[in-house]
């Protein structure tokens, strides 16, 4: 096989992996949009907040240390303990559930029945608020995220050697085997499990069905005895959990810092391509965007256009798809009646 072909395959594979990572972020958006019609602008900040909280717990940081020190003239920084990752993840999930409750109790309960644009705007406020709170709580320095569930069993980093060596023989001198990041493989597995679990939850459990009922029609769901409050807290908690997973995967690569909230931008074309309302759509959309942008950069962008084309190409690609299917690939068909 020729090297050019093999390298194209490599780019394709890495595009798939990148796509899964985008899809992880997009999933959070889809969950909330599906159940409540809210386009949650704060999803990226939630990922940041979750990752910061996780690291904060791991390192035993004192929350709001800087504020406390500035107000009372103290010098507290840490509690002096290091929590085990599993415990820290568990505590972070609790925090995200508490956040979901607070969001429901103090914001969206008061906004039931409002137009989507107003709900969207409330999430803008939430994004500002959370960003400020996250920074106040844990400080804006960059933090390293190492997740280990047992001694020596941490999130892997680096190219997968086994794949590399196994495929080295495929090409000639200039081919070094396929490069696939181990972290991406883990992320892909986690994403698959997550999607399967979410789909199963939505299809086969009572709460899941209630969730879908709410998504279809708030009032009808209410009238058959579904608690809107509970479902919304549930959905926001799930979105918070997905945000935590996305935050871990991206944060492991770049360290936990403000820029983590910008990953939401990577999820937007995925959402639009896959449709706002479809969980499998987020995955398929992510894969198409990931592969599309990587291949375009490899075949056309870098050689002919001077590179760095990925950002806009993702949107152009989504745009082309949308022209043919205006509701996204898996979105519910828009039926308009006068």
């Amino acid at each position: 096989m020729s090297e050019a072909f093999l390298y194209t395959v490599e780019v394709f594979l890495n595009g798939l992996m990148a796509g899964v990572l985008y899809a992880l972020v997009a999933l959070g958006f889809v969950l909330i949009y599906k159940a409540s019609g809210i386009f949650n602008f704060a999803q990226g900040v939630m990922a940041l907040f979750a990752a910061m909280t996780l690291v904060g717990f791991q390192n035993g940081q004192v929350p709001f240390a800087h504020l406390i020190n500035a107000t009372f003239g103290l010098h507290v920084t840490t509690f002096g303990w290091n929590l085990h990752s599993t415990v820290a993840v568990f505590l972070t999930v609790l925090v995200m559930i508490a956040l979901a409750w607070a969001v429901q109790r103090f914001v969206f309960r008061h906004l039931v029945g409002q137009e989507p644009i107003i709900l969207f705007m409330a999430t803008i406020g939430l994004a500002y608020f959370l960003e400020g709170v996250a920074d106040l709580m844990w400080g804006s320095e960059i933090k390293t995220l190492d997740l280990c569930w047992a001694v020596g069993a941490c999130l892997p980093q680096g190219g997968n050697l086994w794949i590399e060596q196994a495929t080295e023989g495929l090409g000639g001198e200039g081919f070094y085997g396929f490069f696939i990041d181990s972290l991406d493989i883990v992320a892909a597995l986690v994403a698959m499990v997550l999607v399967a679990a979410l789909v199963a939850f939505a299809q086969y459990t009572k709460q899941g069905r209630a969730m879908r009922a709410v998504a279809d029609d708030h009032q009808a769901a209410l009238s058959v005895g579904v608690s809107l409050n509970f479902i919304w807290i549930l959905v926001w908690s799930l979105a918070g959990f997905v945000a935590l997973v996305a935050g871990i995967m991206w944060g492991a690569k770049s360290g936990v810092q403000f820029s983590l909230s910008l990953i939401a931008l990577k999820a937007l074309p995925v959402l639009m391509l896959g449709g706002f309302t479809s969980i499998p759509g987020a995955i398929v959309g992510g894969l198409i965007i990931g592969v599309g942008e990587k291949l375009f950069e490899f075949l056309i962008g870098a050689p002919f256009l001077g590179g760095a084309t990925e950002n806009w190409f993702a949107y152009m690609l989504a745009l082309v798809f949308l022209v043919f299917r205006p509701q996204g690939l898996f979105g519910e068909k828009i039926i308009e009646r006068v």
Binding site: F39, V107, M121, G125, L268, W312, A318
Partner: protein, 358 residues
């Protein structure tokens, strides 16, 4: 007491359909205009102009432009930053190619160029709707920024890739460049802001505006009653982009003086202007001003209170700023979901009946 329709008799249709039907409102409006044009220019210094008035006025123009598209025509756009960049770069190319032409002309032509680009990226709106349309405008946002960064012709092949506003004047008064007097820059922008607001107001209550609103409320129904969606949507994109382009040109030439496209006209700008109109009130010219004021002035005010008066550490103040702005947005929404403009409307309604509300 004084804020009443009572005693006002409209004898012509023109009187009946004016923007400010109440005399008190009308006088207040003239008074504000008078102060803005004839009083403030004599009182301002560099600080007030550069950190408060210019950003407020220029964002207000951008917000008016976006409000036409989103608030009146119902087409969600996240390409404002990119379109502002078009205005800025068009203005820069014009300024450097025709140094002797008045800045007024440059800014207006820059707006016109942006309008053409806006129509181009507005074409997908004929098929894609709602949040999905945002993808088309986001494509514009990222592509335009990439383009201005990539093609050296746009920044005149300068080594740094930045564009710098050279000194240009209008009627012999310097408008751009470091030696501009504060009042000149202020007056230049205030004229554009007032004219934009008046044009936008009159467009939106005329037949064009009614067509936009019909499209916004339900485009199929609008089509059935004879509104051409092609012309209505594209005209909204064109006019909206014109204003946005003007604001971009002013933002670069008068306000900042030097611009790097990715930093100044990035995606954050698009979001910021969108936030302004949502918080201010969709489909309201006053809302555009209120939103711009809220997001430009509030952070400055919080900073002055926190850092200069209370002496808190700057980073805590910056974080608290975010918390307070976020919390205020939510509180406002719960109190009045339709933005500051609606609060204002309700207040006026109350005032009309005051002090005998029953």
């Amino acid at each position: 007491m004084f804020y009443r329709e009572a005693g006002e008799f409209s004898t012509t249709y023109k009187d009946d359909s004016q923007t400010f039907p109440i005399k008190f409102d009308r006088w207040r409006y003239y008074f504000v205009l008078f102060v803005a044009v004839f009083v403030i220019p004599f009182m301002v210094n560099d600080y007030w102009v550069n950190s408060i008035f210019l950003p407020f006025l220029i964002y207000a123009i951008a917000a008016i432009g976006l409000n036409i598209l989103v608030g009146y025509c119902g087409q969600v756009s996240l390409g404002t930053g990119g379109f502002m960049a078009v205005g800025a770069y068009a203005c820069y190319k014009l300024m450097t190619s025709f140094p002797d032409v008045s800045m007024f002309v440059h800014v207006i032509i820059a707006g016109a160029i942006t309008a053409v680009v806006g129509v181009l990226f507005g074409l997908p709106s004929l098929r894609i709707k709602g949040f999905y349309l945002a993808v088309a405008t986001l494509a514009a946002q990222f592509f335009l920024v990439w383009l201005f960064n990539r093609v050296p012709w746009f920044y005149n092949y300068s080594a740094s890739g930045q564009i710098n506003a050279p000194e240009r004047d209008t009627f012999g008064v310097l408008i751009t460049g470091p030696n501009t007097e504060a009042w000149a820059a202020y007056l230049f922008c205030v004229v554009f802001t007032i004219v934009s607001a008046v044009i936008a107001r009159n467009l939106t209550r005329g037949s064009v505006g009614r067509k936009w609103m019909a499209i916004r409320d339900m485009d199929i129904a609008a089509e059935i009653i004879g509104v051409n969606p092609l012309t209505a949507k594209l005209s909204a994109f064109a006019i909206s982009s014109f204003f946005v382009g003007v604001s971009g040109a002013l933002f670069f030439s008068v306000y900042l003086g030097a611009v790097e496209v990715g930093e100044v006209f990035g995606i954050n700008k698009s979001f910021l202007v969108l936030f302004m109109i949502i918080i201010g009130g969709l489909g309201s010219i006053f809302g555009s001003f209120a939103g711009a004021a809220f997001l430009v002035l509030l952070p400055v005010a919080l900073k002055v209170v926190g850092v200069d008066w209370l002496g808190w550490p700057t980073d805590i103040v910056a974080h608290l700023q975010l918390v307070i702005v976020g919390a205020l947005i939510i509180v406002f929404l719960i109190a009045e979901p339709h933005g500051i403009a609606q609060l204002w409307r309700v207040a006026k309604e109350k005032l009309r009946l005051w002090p005998f509300p029953h």
